[in-house]
Symmetry: D3
Subunit: 293 residues, 6 copies
C-alpha cells in the first residue's frame, strides 16, 4: 500500500468525534472511488458494485444493504434485516466508527487487502464482525431472541460464530475468519488481529464468566485455542495451533500444545512491537526452537 494513499490513516491517538466524521467521510469517498474505477474496468462486476456501493449515499446504507442480502434466508427476509441494520447504524454512530476502524485495520495490516472496498465487499471476517456488533447491541437491549437469530445466520453464512454477548473492541482484523468461535463471556480489546479457526472457548457447562479476556493489540495465530477465563495481556502473541489454558502476560508470546511462554514461565521474553498491528507471525521461531529442543 503506497504511503501516500493512506495518509489519513496512521494516527497516534484515537480520533475525536469531529475527526471521526472526517475520517469516515474520507474512507467512504475512497470506497466509492475504488468501486467506480472497478466498475469501469469490469462491466461484468458493475451491477454488483452499483447495487452494493455506488447506489448508496453512505457507508451505513451500503453496509446495511450488503449484510441484509448476505444474511437473509427464506424465513428471515432481506428487507427485515436491512431495516434492522439501518436502524442500528443510524441510532448508534459508534457502530460505524468501529466499522471504519476495522476497514483501516484490514487495509494496513493485510498485504492481500488491495482496497477498502475489497474488504467491505469480500472479507467475511469484516462482515461477520459488523453484524456481530449489531447483534451485541440487540443483546444489551434485551432483544436476545433476535440477537441469537442473527448470530445463527452469521454462523451459517460466514462460518464465524461469535456469541452476541461477547464484547469486541475496534480496529479488529479477523483474517480469513472461517471457523472462528468466540464464547459468551469473552472480551476482545482494540486493535487485535485474530486469524481463522481461533477459538476463545469456555471451560465447561458451568455458567458465568468462563471465556478468555484478550487485551489490546494481541495477535492470535491460525487455529489457536484459548480456553477458560484466562487473561491474554496487551500486546501478547499466541502462536498458530497453540492450546492456551493459562494467563499470558503483556508483550509475551505463548506457543505450543499446551502453550508455554517463550523464554520460560519465570522470565518470558518480551517483544517491543504490537503484534496485533505488526502481524508478525513467525519471528519467534528461532527462540521457540531453542526453547523446545
Amino acid at each position: 500500500m503506497p504511503a501516500g494513499e493512506l495518509r489519513h490513516l496512521p494516527q497516534s491517538s484515537p480520533p475525536n468525534a469531529a475527526e471521526f466524521d472526517e475520517e469516515e467521510a474520507w474512507v467512504w469517498s475512497q470506497i466509492k472511488a475504488e468501486a467506480r474505477r472497478d466498475a469501469e474496468a469490469e462491466p461484468a462486476l458493475a451491477s454488483y458494485l452499483y447495487s452494493t456501493i455506488l447506489s448508496h449515499s453512505s457507508l451505513e446504507r451500503s453496509l446495511s444493504f450488503h449484510l441484509g442480502n448476505k444474511l437473509c434466508s427464506s424465513t428471515l427476509l432481506s428487507t427485515l434485516l436491512y431495516d434492522l441494520f439501518l436502524n442500528a447504524f443510524s441510532s448508534d454512530p459508534s457502530l460505524c466508527s468501529a466499522a471504519v476502524a476495522d476497514l483501516r485495520a484490514a487495509r494496513v495490516r493485510d498485504p492481500a487487502c488491495v482496497s477498502f472496498s475489497h474488504c467491505l465487499l469480500n472479507y467475511k471476517g469484516f462482515l461477520a464482525c459488523q453484524a456481530h456488533r449489531v447483534a451485541h447491541k440487540l443483546w444489551t437491549q434485551q432483544r436476545r431472541p433476535l440477537a441469537l437469530a442473527l448470530h445463527s445466520r452469521i454462523s451459517d453464512v460466514f462460518a464465524v460464530d461469535i456469541h452476541p454477548a461477547a464484547k469486541i473492541g475496534k480496529g479488529i482484523l479477523f483474517d480469513h475468519a472461517t471457523g472462528v468461535v468466540v464464547g459468551e463471556t469473552a472480551v476482545i480489546g482494540n486493535n487485535c488481529s485474530i486469524l481463522h479457526h481461533v477459538t476463545l472457548g469456555g471451560t465447561g457447562k458451568v455458567g458465568g464468566d468462563r471465556h478468555p479476556k484478550i487485551g489490546d493489540g494481541v495477535l492470535i495465530g491460525a487455529g489457536a485455542t484459548i480456553l477458560g477465563d484466562v487473561k491474554i495481556g496487551e500486546g501478547a502473541k499466541i502462536g498458530s495451533g497453540s492450546v492456551v489454558l493459562i494467563d499470558v502476560p503483556p508483550k509475551t508470546t505463548a506457543v505450543g500444545n499446551p502453550a508455554r511462554l517463550v523464554g520460560g514461565k519465570e522470565k518470558p521474553a518480551q517483544h517491543e512491537d504490537v503484534p496485533g498491528e505488526s502481524m508478525d507471525h513467525t519471528s519467534f521461531i528461532s527462540e521457540w526452537s531453542d526453547y523446545i529442543i
Copy 2:
C-alpha cells in the same frame, strides 16, 4: 437453567416408548411456549417464529420445515426436502426421539443455550445432526445418491461434514459445530459432546473400517483430530487440539499432539464424572502440566 424448569429432564434410565411420547410432548409444548413468548416480545422476529415453530402441529413438522428451508438450493427445492424429512420423521419415531434427546443435551450441558427453541432454530450442530440422521437412514435403505446429496448440502450450509454411513447415538451435543468432520466408518455412542473442528478421520486410501469408534459419554475438545480405527472408551475425554492415533481407555483423558494419556500409558488417571455430560474441558490442566513439565 433453573432446576424447576427442567424437572422432566434428569432421568436415571432412558425413557420407554410411552415415557418418550410424554417427553416429546412436553418438550414440544415448551418450545411453543418459548416461541410464543419471544414472538410477543419481539415483533420483528414473530414472522420467523410463526413460520418455523408456531404454525406447526408437531416437532417433526417444525423440524422438517426448518431443515427443508435451510438446506434447499436452486436445484434441490425446499418442497422436495420438506417432503423427504417429513416422510423420514413420520416413518421412524426413533429419529424424533433422538432429536428430543439432543435438545435435552444442549439445554442441560451448554450454559449458552437459553431455551429449547434456541437450539431448535439456531444450533447448526443440532440441525446438521438431525439432517444427518435422515441421510443415514437413506443410506441404510440403499438410497445412497440421495443420502450423499443431502450430505453435501449439510456440509455446504452448516460446514459440518458427517458421512451418511457414520453411526451416531442419541443425546449428542455438537457445540458450535463448524468444521466437524466424521468419516464413513466412524461410530459415536450416546451422550457424547463434541466441539467444533473435531475430526474423526480415516487412515488413508484403503477402504473398510478405518475411522474412530467413540464410546458413550465421551467429550472431545475443540480442534481435536482422531484418526484411524481407534477406540475411545466410555467416558473418556480428549483435550482440545489433540491429535489422537491411539486407543484411549474408558474414563481416561488424552491430550497433546501426539496425544498421550494423562497419568501415563501404564496407569492413566481415571476421572469419576461423565465428561460428555459434565462438559468439563479444563480440570485436567494441572495434571497435564504436571505430566508434561
Copy 3:
C-alpha cells in the same frame, strides 16, 4: 473401486492433448452413465441429476451450470456466473483437463468417493478448486476485482478460502475441504492431497513472497498449519495438526507442534511411496512415538 471400472485411469505419464480429449470424453461418459443410473433408481433425485448433469452436452457446461448455481447470490446472479465459467472453460482447455485430473484423484484416492458424479456434484473441495482456477485465470488477466468477488463467494459458500493469486497444479484432492486457507503467494504442485482445515499461511503484514511452496505428491493432514515462504519437498508428508515453520525435504515426514522431521533433522527418515497419492496418514505413528517418547 473395482480395478476394471477405472481401467483408463492409471497412467504412468501425463496424457498428451489427444489422449486427454479421449480421457475427458471417457470420464464424461462415465458421469452421464452414473447419473442416468441414479436418476432411474431414485426419482426424487432425478430432477437434480437432469438439471446438473444429464441435460448438458459437456463436462464444461455441467460444471459451469453447477458452479453458477452454487456460487450465485442475490447480487451476483447465476446467469452472470454461468456465463463467466462457460467462457473460461471454453477459452482455456487446461481448466477442463485439470478438472478431469482432480476427478480422477478423488476417485482413486478417496475410498468414500463412490463415483465421478459423486465428486462432481458433492465435493466442495473439488468445486472450490475448479472455481478457484477460474478466479486465478481472471487474476492473471488483471481482472482482479472480479477474481476477488469470486474468491469471496467460494469462501462464503464452501468455507474454502484460496486466494486467486495462488497457483495450484493438477490432480489435487481437497478432501472434506472445510476451513482450507491458501494464501496469495502459495504454490501447490501436482497430485497433492490436502485435508480440511489446512492453512498455507503468511508470515505477517509484509507483502511479497510469504506463503508456502508445496511440491508434487505432498500429503498434508487435517488441521496442519504451514506458515511462511517454506518449501515442502516432493512427496513429503505433513502430519495432522502439525504447525510447520521449516522447510521439509522431499519424501520426509514432518509432525508435531512445532513440527519436526520424523527421524531427526539431520537424517530424516525417507519413505518410498508418494503420500499425496497413497494417502497413508498414519503409518508414521510408530516412528513418531519412538521419536518423541
Copy 4:
C-alpha cells in the same frame, strides 16, 4: 386427438367412486407416460418434468408441488402452500376427482391441448381452478383470511380472479383464462367452458346474492361480461364480447352489447348440442347477422 387414445373418456354418466379411482389412476398413468416420453426427447426439460411429475407418486402430490411452487412468494413460502394443498387433496377426494374431470375437459374440448400433462403443467386456467377449489374449501371451513390470501396469489400469478366463495362444478375448461373474474356469489355448473376475459360480476355495492348463476354445459365466449344475479340456463351460449344483464334460457344463445337472444326475446332459437362441450363459438353468426341487420 385420436379416438383410441381417449377410449376411457367419453362416458354417458358420471363415474361412481370405484370408477373414479380407476379413472384417476388411468389419467395419472397417462400423465407419467407423457412426461417420460417428453423427458427422453427433450433433456433440457427433463429436470422440470421430473420435479413436477415424475418424482411424485400421485396426481395429488404432483399438483400440490406444482401449485405450491407457482403460487409461493417471499412471504408465503412454497413449503407452507405445498402442505396446505396436500392436506386439502388428501382430506377431500372430490378435489382430485374434479381435477381429473377438468383435465378431461381440456383434453377433449381444446384442440390445442396435446396431452394431459400439457394441461397439468401449463394451463393457467386449470391451475387457477384447482387452487380456487382449495381456497373455496378453506372458505367453507371459515378459514377466510387464508382463503383470501390464496385468492390474491392466484390473481397475481395467473391473472385469474375467482372469489373463494364462488361455487364451481366439475369438468370446467377455463381456456386461456387471463382476465377471468368470478364474483363472490357466482355459481358455475358442471361441464362449462369459459374463455378468457370473462366476467361474472356483481351489480354494485349492496351485499348478498348479486352475481350470475351459470347452468351446466354453458359456453361463455371471450370477453363476455355477465352482471348481476341473472340465470344462464343449461346449455346456453354467450357470444364473445357480449354484455349480459338478463336471464338467458336453456339452450339459447345471447349475443351483443347489450346482449339479446338470438331469434328474439319471445321465441329464441334453440340449439341441440351442449355448447360447453362442443365449444362451437361461431355457428350463430349467420342467425345473428340476420337478426341484427
Copy 5:
C-alpha cells in the same frame, strides 16, 4: 359492514391535516387489530401477517415492505424497492393519506372487502395504485427511467398498466383491477370506481394530450374502453363493455359500443347518486333496453 365498525368513515367534507392524522392512526389500528385476530385464528397465516403487518410500526412501513416484496425481481432487489417506497412515503404525507382514502373506498364500496387488512394485503388494484403514486412522484421529479422501471414491474406483477405520468386522485377503487390500462395524459378525479379491463387509451401515435379526463365520482364498468382526450363529467357512469369516443356530461350514463348517452344525446337522463361511490352498475338496464329496442 356493520355501521358501527366504520363510524369514522362517512364524512361530508375531506379531512384536514390533523383529522387525517387521526384518521390514519385509526385505520392503522384497525388493520393491526384485524391482523392480530386473523393470526390467532389461523396459525398457517400468522407468519405472513406478522411479516407484512404486525411487525411494522406504521402503515407506511407495512406498505413499503409489502410492495417491495411483491414488486421485486432478481434484477430489482426488494431492499432497493423497500427503500424507494419508504423514502417516498416519508417525504410526502399525501401518498399515505391517499392510501387511507383508497382503503376506505374499498371497505365502503366493495361488499366483498371484509376488512382493511384484506384490501391492504390482497387487492392488486389497491397495491398497484399505491405503487403508481410513487412512480408518478418519481416522474414529476424527472426520475423517469426509475418511474418507468417501476411501471413495468407493476404491469408484470399485477397486470395493471398505469403510465407514471397519469394523474390519479384519492379515494379510488380499482376493483379486481386485472387488465386496467391508463395512458400517459389521462387524469382520474377523486372517489372514482374503476373495474377491471378498463382502458383509458390514446388516439394514436401523435404525442401530447391524448387520453381521457375522468371527473370526480365516476363509475367505469368492467371492460369499458375510453379513447382520446374526451371528458367524462363528474358523477358520470360508463356501462360495462362500452367503447366511449365522446364526452359524457356530468351525472349521465354512457353505454354500448359505440357508447351513447342513456336518454339521448340531446337530453340525456341524469341520475342523482354518485356512481363512483354507490357502485350501482346495472340500474340503467331498463332505461337502456327502452332506449335501444
Copy 6:
C-alpha cells in the same frame, strides 16, 4: 421523437443483410448510450441497467439475460432459459433482426416510448413477442414440450398468451399487451400494431386451420376479438372492442359488436394510410357515428 434522433430508421424498403447488421449495431449502440445516460442520472437504477444492458456485449446477450431472468421460475432455472435464448439467437439471426424491427416499431409508433432501452427493458409486449419467436422456433423444430413450457411462462409472467405455433411477422407493436391471446393457427403479417386484450381466437373444438390471418400493416384496437379463420386484409383497421367474425378487406375499417365495415358491406370506405404504422385509432369516429345513427 425528434426526427434527427431516428435518422437511421425510416427506410422505404426492408434492409438487406449488411444493412441490417449496420442497423442492429446502431440500435444497440443507442441502447447502450441511453442506459449509460440513465445509469449516471439515477444511481438507484444503475445496478439494474448494468446487469441487463451495460454488462453485455450484444443485443442478443442482453435480451437472453433479461428474458431468462424474467421468465425463470423455481422449476425452470434462469441459467437454463438463458442458455436456450442465447442458442436460439446465435443460431438464427432473423430472430435478432425481428427484435430490432420491433424496437423500431415501438419507438416510432408509440409516443410514450421514450427510448429503445425503455422498450427493451419494460415493454411486456416486446418481451413476450421475442420469447414467442424462440418458442415458435422450438415448435418448428418439433421441440414442442419445451415450446409449450415457454409459452406457459410467457402467459404467466406477461399475461400474453401466444400459441407457439402462431406465425408472427416483423415490426410488430403489442402495445400494453396485457391479455393478448393469439391462437395456434393464427398468422400476423409485418408492421402490425395490436393493442391489449386483443383476441385472435378459434371457432371451437374442431382442429385444423381455425384462427384469423392478419395482413401487413393492420391496426387492431384494444379489446377487439377476432374469431375464426377470417382474413383481415392489408392495412385494415379493427376498432376497439369490436367482435369480428367476418373477412375485412384491405384498407377498410371494421367496428362494433358484431363488427361491420365502415361505409357498408358493399362499398366500404377505404383509407390511405397504413393504420398499423400510423396508429390512428379514432379518426373513423365521425363516419362511424354517421353510419350507426
